[in-house]
């Protein structure tokens, strides 16, 4: 982790949101006993089947959300990186290292 800069935080709200989007389908699928049931039925499908098919759709939606969250987050970071040396001449020492992508280890 690059510890020098103050804002934006390593765990920004957007990154937390993306993490949630990625974890939610994983948890839903692994918790098998919660959906191993014939009822409630939907259109003739036992719960076990329609619940999993529903999660396929939800996963798609969550992945779109995660993609946009990450993209927006990175734009903030990039904007901050390019703007901060000029905007804050006194405090710019911390992010003085040049180069694209400052090697944050991510997750």
């Amino acid at each position: 982790m690059s510890g020098g800069t103050t804002p934006p935080r390593v765990l920004s709200p957007l990154r937390l949101f993306a993490t949630f989007c990625v974890l939610a389908p994983t948890v839903a699928v692994i918790a098998v006993p919660t959906y191993d049931s014939a009822t409630p039925k939907l259109g003739g499908f036992p719960f076990f089947y329609w619940y999993q098919l529903l999660w396929v759709v939800l996963t798609g939606v969550l992945m779109v959300a995660a993609y946009f969250a990450i993209r927006t987050d990175e734009r903030h970071r990039k904007a901050f990186r390019t703007a901060s040396p000029a905007a804050a001449p006194g405090g710019g020492a911390a992010d003085g290292e040049p180069g694209p992508g400052d090697g944050e280890a991510g997750r």
Binding site: V29, A38, V57, M63, Y67, I70, P100
Partner: protein, 554 residues
Amino acid sequence: MSALSSTASGVHGVELGVVITVFVLVAALGFLAARWRRTGDGHDLHEWGLGGRSFGGFITWFLIGGDLYTAYTFVAVPASLFGSGALGFFAVGYTILVWPLVFIFLPRLWSVSRKHGYVTPADFVKGRHGSRGLSLAIAVTGIVATMPYIALQLVGIQSVLYVMGVGSSSSSFAQDLPLFVAFLILAAFTYTSGLRAPAMIAFVKDLLIYVTILVAVIYIPTRLGGWTHIFSSASKRLATVSPTTHAAAGSTLLSHGNTLPFATLAIGSAMALFMYPHAQVGVLATKRRSTVRRNVSALTVYSLMLGFVALLGYMAIADGFTTKSLGNNTQHAVPALFDAVFPSWFAGIALSAIVIGALVPAAIMSIAAANLFTRNIFVDYIKPDATPAQQTAGSKWVSLLVKFGALAFVLGLDATSAINFQLLGGVLILQTFPAIVGGLYTRYFHRWALLAGWAAGIAYGAVVAWQQSSATQHHFASQVALIPWTHQKAYIAVTALVVNLVVLIVANFILRAVKAPAGVDATSPADYDHDVDDEAVGEGDEPTEPHEVTAPVL
């Protein structure tokens, strides 16, 4: 019931005609693909083996879809529901779990591979861990696990031929001639066009598959009396106690003790999928880091379709098919169902969807296996000074060898054995997970510890898989086995991965304590966030157009 008339007796002329027409069209496309989107030097391995690393979101969607949607999915998953019920539905959970995983780690693999020109996962492992031995282990595992996967594509084609009354599931050369011809043509266009051929054919393949599935999911339930009837007749048939095994075949819900097998099968298969070299080929061929992540949401459409494909197994039950009426091979369930319920011209379309659906992944797989051989065995151990042109020539020839190896596999063994070896392949390939995915995040693990863990996982997994027997088979009869010292079953690949990790952690502790040489890491932390935009000034050899800001590391 219609099932009675559909046993393979005589050649089904209309169906065969449609399948042959589609096949000829697709083969022509495959050869034409050589000239499609050509950017650089045709003698470069990045050109032949990765399509010039030039694929954008649209093509990538089809290409990665080709990795997921194989004949195995189309034939074996419904067959598994047909034979044993709810447990087979793990395939849906598996294709849900795979997308979050892809979202997290594949952009990092893309970046580091782009930066250093890695073509295979073993290239990355060599660069990251500074170990040719570990790289060789990864490469050999990849090739060994891919071969039966290709063979399975052939089994899919074979089952279609069987249902049409051509060829057979036994191994006699004359009857397998159609299969042989189909593969000869596949081999030829892969040789000339490289990855461009399957990428282009994937369009046709998906069109055929989506039309088939949509029609099947709407038309067949109406014909069979609705979903309620399909599920209830499946439930009834699966609960019938078999006279040979004295147990019910399965159930439409997970019976007691099947929860953990279901969950581990889903997790293990999801983790294993992108360890297969052919799945990574589709990712490395993209031109931007963000392409993969942007694609993930659209790729879930494949998972949804797969869910409905799986349920075709129950529809076959509802249509009155039994294992016996399928010629004692449940793999015939879907082709036989199509043959029985559709008018013959549409059955022809549906059956060609299966055949083309087998050709695309088979081509990608043989390219991936060939790349592995060339980069990580030929260049590293046999001819270190091979020029890019020699590497490409080598890869082209090996792609032929791999395919004919797979063909020999299918002709020499019966179809059940091919599927068993595919299961073993899944167990083996998952053992490369710590070296590849672990390596994307940390250098903490020592290269020799990774090698020791890999060896332990492979040894455990292979022995346990071999020991599984059933009433009809002596070996490789099941993907799940008892976890040692418990009464609980789990997917062998996952248990083996746990063995792998335990050995890895212990060995790592010892090796670090004695300060064993850790090897040189050729990568730097920034390489894992690298994108094409970063190449504009530096080493980028092709001009990169100005573009929007791309998705970064998570």
